[in-house]
C-alpha cells in the first residue's frame, strides 16, 4: 500500500544551519493494517506523515501509495487519503456541520452523497448533540472527532493520523480507538503516529519505531517484544536511589545467576531494570539481596514492553528521549515549517 524509500528531509534551523528531520528513512505499510509509528517528540514522525500526505516534498527519496508516485502525482494520492493533523485546524466561525459540508465540497462529493456521509459520520462519532454548534465552542475531544470525521468524508482507502489522541479525555480517546479499529476491520489502511507506548501497543497490527529520523525497529508488537526475549524485573532498593548505589548494586546483581543484563534507569529514581532468563528469578534476586542485608523497596516482574524495544535499540527509554529533546525544540521554527 505504502512504500517510502530512502527519504531524507532537512529544515533550516538556527543560523540557517540545516537540521536533519529524516535520515534515509524507508518504510513499507501493507494494505489493510493499522500501522503505528512510535517515537519520541522530534524523531521525525510528523515530517514523515506530512511527506506521505503530499504536504511536504522530501529532499530525496520516493513515496508510493497504491502504486502511485506521490511526488509526481500528488492529486491522485490526495484522493485516496484522509489526513488528521496534529494541530487541529478548524474554523471557529463555522458549525461542525458547515465544516463537514465545506470539506466535502473540497472532495467534490455530490449533494446526495454529501448529506448521507455527514449524517453517517455524525452517528459514528457520536456528534449529534453538538454538531450544529460553532466549532469555537468545542472541547479538545470534540475538535478531534470533527477533524477525524473531516478526514473520513470521502471514504479514503488510507487514513493518516498524526498523534490523534494527544490531550484527549478518556471517552474521546475510546471513541477514536473504536472507530479506528472498525475502519481497519473494513479494510482501510491506517497509519498513526504516537509517542504513547500503550496506544501503539494496543492499537497497531504493525509498527515502526523512529529515532532521530530513522526507523530503528519494524514488525508486529509481539514480534518485536519476542525478539528481545527474556523477562523484565524492575528493582528499587529505596524510592530514590543514587547513581553510586545503583552502580554498586548493578555489579552485584550481574553476578547473580540468571541475570543477563542490568540497566540503570536514571529517570525512574535510579531504579534497576534487569533482563532475566526465567520467571522464578524474583525470589532468587530477593534472597540474594537479603543475604547482603539490602532492603527491597519494590520488585516487579513483567514481559518486555515496547519501551524495552526502544531502550534496547537506543540505550535510553522513550521518556528519557522525550526529556532530552524537550528543551531543544523550537516551537516557532516548527510552526514555520508547517505553514
Amino acid at each position: 500500500m505504502i512504500e517510502l524509500q530512502h527519504l531524507s528531509k532537512s529544515f533550516a534551523g538556527a543560523k540557517q544551519q540545516p537540521v536533519s528531520a529524516l535520515n534515509d528513512l524507508s518504510l513499507q505499510v501493507p494494505e489493510g493494517v493499522l500501522y503505528g509509528i512510535l517515537g519520541p517528540n522530534g524523531s521525525g514522525k510528523t515530517t514523515c506523515l506530512r511527506i506521505l500526505c503530499t504536504l511536504l516534498a522530501p529532499d530525496s527519496g520516493t513515496v508510493t501509495v497504491s502504486g502511485i508516485d506521490a511526488i509526481s502525482q500528488p492529486r491522485q494520492v490526495r484522493r485516496l487519503l484522509g489526513y488528521v493533523a496534529q494541530d487541529v485546524a478548524i474554523d471557529k466561525i463555522l458549525t461542525g456541520r458547515e465544516l463537514l459540508e465545506f470539506q466535502s465540497d473540497l472532495y467534490h462529493l455530490p449533494g446526495n452523497l454529501r448529506v448521507k456521509k455527514i449524517s453517517e459520520l455524525i452517528d459514528l462519532l457520536d456528534m449529534g448533540e453538538w454538531i450544529d454548534r460553532r466549532c469555537g465552542t468545542y472541547s479538545g475531544g470534540m475538535r478531534r472527532r470533527i477533524d477525524l470525521a473531516a478526514g473520513l468524508l470521502h471514504s479514503p482507502q488510507l487514513l493518516v493520523l498524526d498523534e490523534p489522541t494527544v490531550g484527549l479525555d478518556i471517552e474521546s480517546r475510546a471513541v477514536v480507538w473504536q472507530v479506528l479499529r472498525q475502519l481497519r476491520d473494513k479494510g482501510v489502511t491506517i497509519v498513526l503516529s504516537s509517542h504513547y507506548l500503550e496506544e501503539i501497543d494496543a492499537l497497531s497490527d504493525q509498527l515502526a519505531i523512529f529515532d532521530s529520523g530513522s526507523v530503528i525497529a519494524q514488525g508486529t508488537p509481539s514480534e518485536l517484544k519476542q525478539e528481545l526475549g527474556g523477562e523484565r524485573v524492575t528493582l528499587k532498593v529505596r524510592e530514590f536511589s543514587d547513581n553510586k548505589e545503583s552502580a554498586r548494586l548493578r555489579e552485584m546483581l550481574l553476578a547473580c545467576p540468571g541475570v543477563r543484563d542490568v540497566v540503570i534507569n536514571q529517570s525512574q529514581g535510579y531504579s534497576l531494570n534487569l533482563l532475566v532468563d526465567n520467571q522464578d528469578i524474583s525470589e532468587t534476586v530477593r534472597n540474594h539481596l537479603s543475604q547482603q542485608n539490602i532492603p527491597v523497596f519494590s520488585l516487579t516482574q513483567s514481559r518486555p514492553s515496547l519501551d524495552d524495544v526502544y531502550l534496547q535499540a537506543t540505550g535510553r527509554t522513550l521518556l528519557d528521549a522525550e526529556l532530552a529533546v524537550a528543551g531543544l525544540r523550537d516551537p516557532k521554527a516548527e510552526r514555520k515549517q508547517s505553514m
Binding site: R78, A89, E101, D105, D123, D126, Q178
Partner: protein, 293 residues
C-alpha cells in the same frame, strides 16, 4: 456523552478506493471548490460583521469629516469647479476598495498560521488556483458593496450621483484596482512570515499611497516632486476616471490628468490599471505555484 454504539456499517467505508469516482467535469469541480471557499469567507464576514461595519464606517467618516474640512473653501478653487465633497468622493471610493483589497491576504495568512491551509492543501482540489480565486471574488464583492454604500451616502450628502454608465465605469475601474492589489496582498500573505508582518506592511503602505495620490487634492495643488509621485501612483489612475464618470458628459477621450510627463485620458488611465493588474498576476504566479503546488 457515551461511546457510540454505531458501527462502521456503510458500504462506502473501507471500500472507498473501489468505489468508482463519479465522472465530473473539471469546470464543475473548480466551481464546487471555489464556491465552498468563497462561501466560507462570506460566512466569516456575516458572523463577525465588525470587518464589514468598519469597512463601511471608515470611508464614511473620511467623507463626512474630511469633506467638511474644506466645506467653506472659495468657489472655483478646484479645477472644474464644484465642491470639495464632490471632489473627495472619488478618492474615498478608490481608497476604500484599495484598503479592502490590501487586506485580502489576511484570511489566507491566518489560515496558514492556524494550519487551516493544510486542510485545503491535502484535499484533492482540481486547481489550487481556486484558493486565490475565492479570495479575489470575496474581496471584489465586498469592496463593491462598500463602494455602493459610499456612492449612496455621498449622493445624499449632495456630492452628486454618477450616471448609469458612470456606475459601470466605477465598477470596471474598481475591479481592475482590486485585482491588482489583491494579487499583491496574496503574494505577501504567502511570502511574509506571519500576520504581524503583513499587518505592518498594510499599515505602512496605506496612508502614504493615499497622500501621494489625487484622492485628497488635485495635482495642481502639489509641489513638483509630489505631483510626479501622484502621477505614477496607481491609485491616481483609478481615481481620475471615477471622478470624471460623475460628470454628465463623460467621454473616454477627455483628458483627466495633466501629469508632468503628459496628459492622460480616462481610457489610458484604465489601460494602465489593466496592465498593472495583468502584470502583477503574471508576476506572482511563480510564487503561488511554489507555495501551492
Amino acid at each position: 456523552m457515551t461511546i457510540t454504539s454505531a458501527s462502521v456499517q456503510s458500504e462506502s467505508f473501507g471500500t472507498g478506493g473501489q468505489r468508482p469516482l463519479p465522472k465530473v467535469s473539471a469546470a464543475s469541480e473548480i466551481f464546487q471548490e471555489t464556491f465552498a471557499l468563497t462561501r466560507r469567507l462570506f460566512l466569516q464576514l456575516i458572523r463577525c460583521p465588525s470587518t464589514l461595519l468598519a469597512g463601511v464606517l471608515q470611508p464614511l467618516i473620511w467623507l463626512i469629516l474630511f469633506g467638511a474640512l474644506f466645506a467653506n473653501a472659495p468657489e472655483g478653487l478646484l479645477p472644474g469647479g464644484g465642491s470639495y465633497g464632490r471632489f473627495l468622493g472619488a478618492g474615498v471610493i478608490v481608497f476604500t476598495a484599495f484598503s479592502a483589497a490590501l487586506n485580502a491576504g489576511l484570511p489566507i495568512m491566518f489560515d496558514r498560521e492556524f494550519g487551516f491551509l493544510n486542510r485545503l492543501l491535502v484535499a484533492p482540489l482540481r486547481s489550487r488556483a481556486s484558493i486565490v480565486l475565492a479570495s479575489v471574488i470575496y474581496i471584489t464583492l465586498l469592496s463593491l458593496i462598500q463602494s455602493v454604500a459610499i456612492i449612496i451616502v455621498a449622493g445624499f450628502l449632495g456630492y452628486g450621483w454618477p450616471s448609469v454608465s458612470g456606475i459601470l465605469i466605477v465598477f470596471l475601474v474598481l475591479s481592475l484596482l482590486i485585482f491588482a492589489v489583491t494579487a499583491l496582498s496574496l503574494s505577501l500573505a504567502f511570502s511574509l512570515p506571519g500576520h504581524i508582518e503583513l499587518i505592518a506592511v498594510i499599515f505602512v503602505s496605506n496612508l502614504p499611497l493615499l497622500f501621494t495620490s489625487t484622492a485628497l487634492a488635485p495635482l495642481s495643488f502639489m509641489p513638483t516632486w509630489l505631483s510626479w509621485l501622484a502621477s505614477i501612483n496607481p491609485l491616481t489612475f483609478a481615481i481620475e476616471p471615477i471622478r470624471a464618470s460623475y460628470s454628465n458628459d463623460f467621454r473616454f477621450t477627455d483628458t483627466v490628468l495633466n501629469a508632468p510627463y503628459g496628459s492622460l485620458n480616462s481610457f489610458s488611465c484604465i489601460a494602465v490599471l489593466a496592465s498593472i493588474a495583468l502584470f502583477l498576476f503574471i508576476a506572482i504566479r511563480p510564487l503561488l505555484d511554489r507555495r501551492l503546488n
